[in-house]
Symmetry: C2
Subunit: 592 residues, 2 copies
């Protein structure tokens, strides 16, 4: 659990899947202070508003907002009367819930007219009705509002209405999706900000309504500068909750307990980033004293492969030039240069990269930071990432004898596609990594998305490559494979030696080299072809790499040579690798 | 298999999932005449081009196009030299493949300049190189081309180049996504059209490149007027293949045999629609004599529910007022008015709507049409829909004794989300139904999409309601439930009688009626509330409806009263129904 938080943190029930019962329990378990009750969640619930109120109180949650109330303002008198009747019904519900703030979205109704004075006058009437019942109205400009679609327009109307029970709700999505300048939030007095909703999103060039309804993300998972946004909000003196409102197709159908924890982690990270970028007054308000910065990393100390038949992995490592020593009753540690792999048995069906150890400047601090970021601690002193991998922190590690391989270049892990944004945020925030550009490519059995991140010195690189859809019976390889990439200073020579030593290396088709010749015409094409070594080039340098077969049904090794600061992972070659792995499976089905 | 086809029908390998081997086999099995070889499929394949050529010949497939060649034209001399070198490498591959036409896409390269004369001159050079090897170049304007992004611009350049081996490739997506007028295709001489690619797509307001790469659909599954497009193409005298090029995230990872059959069905439907809308010359060219029109329908004759415990379903039907008679050794036919349900045992885990019978003006013709549309025929004389439901055609049916229920209003079936567009097209084309507007709504466990279609007289309505994502462990009810909706003339009275008779009806929460009062204030609110009858209203009339519990883990019944021509299905109430079903499951887990 994170430490004491200021300001208070909330979440809208619409972010989560399940019944209202499920949602409230998950929200409380993740440590939130309050909730926004989304109307539809109440409408389908058998709990009376009084029962919901009691349940929230029992869980220690405040009901910070009732939402949404739509299509109210700037309408002819008969429609106004009907809308006020509708509002009074909702005030009844709020009274029973014990909720005092109602969200009113700017109108999208064909009944509405473009008349700010009329909108202000009618909102004044609504606020007056609310005030009589001890309630207040938070008016929000939807990015697709019919006439009011920017927050400064909604602010002009609220100012014109001039009622103490009428203020603004600001939603980061509606503001940042339109490229409105959030710095102008600072002109709004904090006491007129009644509510603030936070959502991140990827930059998509699409209809803003569809973008909003389907593709919102939790903070730090998208492209919006939320630390700056929150800094502006807090600068006004706003003292209400920071509340997540994230419409996302995946979260709507995922385990709400898991989603709520991911949501809370994203707010803890946002708090840290806001403090780092904001002025002193903001820093004080967001209090991150309980979250120490990530200590610098100097590389991977070791990785752990758990395999149902460890001998297969061990034999491959031996043939690759690793030397073994015992590391416990049923495990061996294989080392070569700075590369180190511990192999142990598992009773799971397939092999996996079960754990890794990083060299940290301060392991105790690193572990404390992970716990503050809601990492699960395990009895063996490691922390568990959401993809199931265990992470340990150490200071320095013993090197093996020098050989063809010199160290570990990167780990490529896997996570279900639906979890990969949250998983990537976990790794970045816990280890202090910077994201690298996302990639997406078409592989023989569907699209694959690749996310990666590295520490500033490029000593710890972690990638996740995940199938974007895998819903049918057809596509193979569930779950996605994982791999460990070792470094060498001469990929062609290393491939030759390893092949002579019987390492099960992937054969790459002639067609690939014919195409490579047409595209890039590398200088040592024939040697690449003979060695089944793949090739890529970027604006910095070159990348030569090759792969082993898949071991234990899931894990393989890569050997890479980076020349002159090549920054990528040879992703264009991934489909070639995948097709080659698939051939081995078909030809040697026992490997499945 | 469809009958003889003119023009020839083709498909690009990029439409399908798997290796080149998988794709070619699936294409041939679905009855296509030819393929476009997508370069990446060849690059990752261990088969030499000669082996691919032999395989296609063995399968009776011609290789109609090699694609794509990118970023060729309107570049400085040094880039041109490199591009020509690259092209010659590809001509080598095509020679080995036995392919004579190469697709060249309009450039998106930063090296290119905006100079039509230069583009024409360089394409002339390329065409000359191709011609020397007996090949030709089909130039295509990408909708996101840097300078050439409309087909009429590509035509100006091809005309200016004036080389016999240089012609156009037209792709319906690139043309219709930009709202270009396809009628102007008619100005192009047919012999300068070297290739025509077809793709449909939903109307999405988003970046055209992303739209194209992820959301294309087969013809008649999207919003484009492809019959008109094909009519214009054929009017030019174009005699090449109509070839599908559909980039779709789902098809990329789905069983290619299934996808290829769906693709072929969509072309058969397109042929019929083109003939129906085109001038006589076009009608003659697309030859649909082997596909009879769908005979008119006059209603559902019966439905078949297969249940692991038929007694549960039978008892419910009895309490709903149905009377039974034996219908074979282990089945009973339950009738009431024009409603008829056959209940039989199954050894499957859950109940399902296994079959239905429609009253057709000509059952033999209807069945012949289904077979022409690649429906699988079953030994019992029915045809199988892609969702597994069996369909039978009959003339007239015996009615049961009159009762509270008067007939069948609609069936709500289910299909995996990935298959639902193809499944819906199957029902529409086989039964001659017209699509109704799609709906999408947020349910407690995720988004749901609803598709429906009906015959022109609204006597046969078939809906599919499917979860849009269901990839985790959390969301319940896999597969989606199915239901049969019966008609009544008085839903409130019927609900009262049925409740008294012990029918397990769903209880609807008070919160729903409070909200209904606020929203629509129906006249008989208290009676609706007491009877747990749901309510909706549209511009025509009203809809009163209620539901039973889920029987056999999957099937439930609805009773509906349509007043004054209400056209919908009460979809706004679906989340209320789903939450209520979920409560019953939690409270009575044995029902799962």
């Amino acid at each position: 659990m994170p430490g004491p938080v200021s300001p208070r943190l909330g979440i809208a029930t619409v972010c989560l899947s399940g019944t209202l019962d499920d949602k409230l329990a998950a929200v409380a378990a993740a440590g939130f202070d309050g909730v926004e009750i989304f109307e539809n969640d109440l409408v389908v619930s058998p709990w009376s508003p009084e029962q919901v109120r009691g349940r929230c109180a029992g869980l220690g949650l405040t009901i910070d907002l009732y939402q949404p109330f739509r299509d109210f303002e700037a309408v002819p008198p008969d429609v106004l009367a009907a809308n006020l009747r509708r509002a009074e019904h909702k005030f009844d519900v709020m009274e029973r819930l014990g909720a005092d703030t109602m969200l009113v979205c700017s109108s999208v109704s064909p009944d509405a007219v473009d008349d700010d004075d009329l909108a202000a006058e009618q909102l004044h009437t609504l606020a007056e009705r609310a005030a009589r019942r001890g309630m207040r109205i938070a008016y929000e400009a939807l990015a697709w509002g019919r006439f009011v679609d920017t927050f400064d327009h909604s602010w002009r109307i609220v100012r014109r209405a001039g009622h103490a029970a009428l203020g603004l709700c600001l939603d980061s999505f509606h503001i940042l999706s339109r490229d409105s300048d959030p710095a102008t939030i600072r002109v709004i007095p904090g006491e007129k900000l009644f509510f603030v909703q936070l959502a991140d999103a990827p930059r998509l060039r699409m209809d803003v309504l569809q973008w909003s309804r389907h593709h919102r993300l939790f903070p730090s998972q998208g492209a919006f500068d939320l630390p700056a946004f929150v800094g502006h909000v807090l600068s006004t003196g706003y003292a209400g909750p920071l509340s997540l409102e994230v419409f996302n197709d995946v979260f709507r159908q995922a385990d709400p307990y898991r989603t709520a924890v991911d949501a809370m982690r994203s707010l803890v990270v946002l708090r840290e980033r806001t403090a780092a970028s904001g002025p002193p007054a903001v820093r004080e308000r967001v209090r991150v004293r309980d979250l120490p910065p990530a200590p610098p990393l100097s590389g991977f100390a070791s990785t752990v492969v758990a395999a149902p038949e460890p001998a297969e992995v061990a034999n491959t490592l031996r043939a690759m030039g690793f030397r073994a020593r015992d590391a416990g009753t049923d495990a061996k540690l294989w080392t070569q240069g700075a590369a180190s792999v511990l192999v142990r048995a598992t009773d799971e069906d397939t092999a996996r990269v079960a754990a890794f150890q990083v060299d940290s400047a301060d392991p105790a601090v690193a572990r404390g930071r992970a716990e503050r970021l809601l990492a699960r601690s395990r009895p063996d002193g490691t922390v568990a990432a959401p993809d199931g991998t265990a992470i340990a922190f150490t200071v320095g590690h013993e090197e093996g004898e020098p050989g063809l391989l010199t160290g570990i270049d990167h780990l490529s892990l896997a996570a279900p596609y639906d979890d990969v944004d949250q998983t990537a945020l976990f790794y970045r925030s816990v280890l202090g990594l910077e994201p690298e550009p996302d990639v997406e490519f078409a592989a023989p059995f569907g699209l694959v998305r690749g996310l990666s991140a590295s520490d500033p010195d490029k000593r710890v690189r972690i990638a996740h490559n995940v199938a974007m859809l895998r819903r049918g019976e057809w596509a193979p390889a569930v779950p996605d494979p994982q791999h460990i990439a070792f470094t060498t200073v001469d990929a062609i020579a290393t491939a030759g030696c390893m092949r002579d030593n019987g390492v099960p290396l992937l054969d790459i088709p002639d067609n690939y080299y014919d195409d490579l010749d047409a595209r890039l015409a590398p200088s040592r094409l024939d040697e690449l072809r003979v060695g089944s070594v793949l090739y890529d080039r970027d604006e910095h340098g070159e990348y030569l790499h090759f792969y082993t077969a898949i071991l234990g049904g899931r894990v393989f090794f890569e050997v890479v040579q980076r020349i002159a600061g090549y920054t990528g992972y040879g992703v264009l070659n991934s489909p070639v690798r995948m097709a080659a792995h698939r051939r081995l499976r078909v030809e040697q089905p026992s490997r499945l």
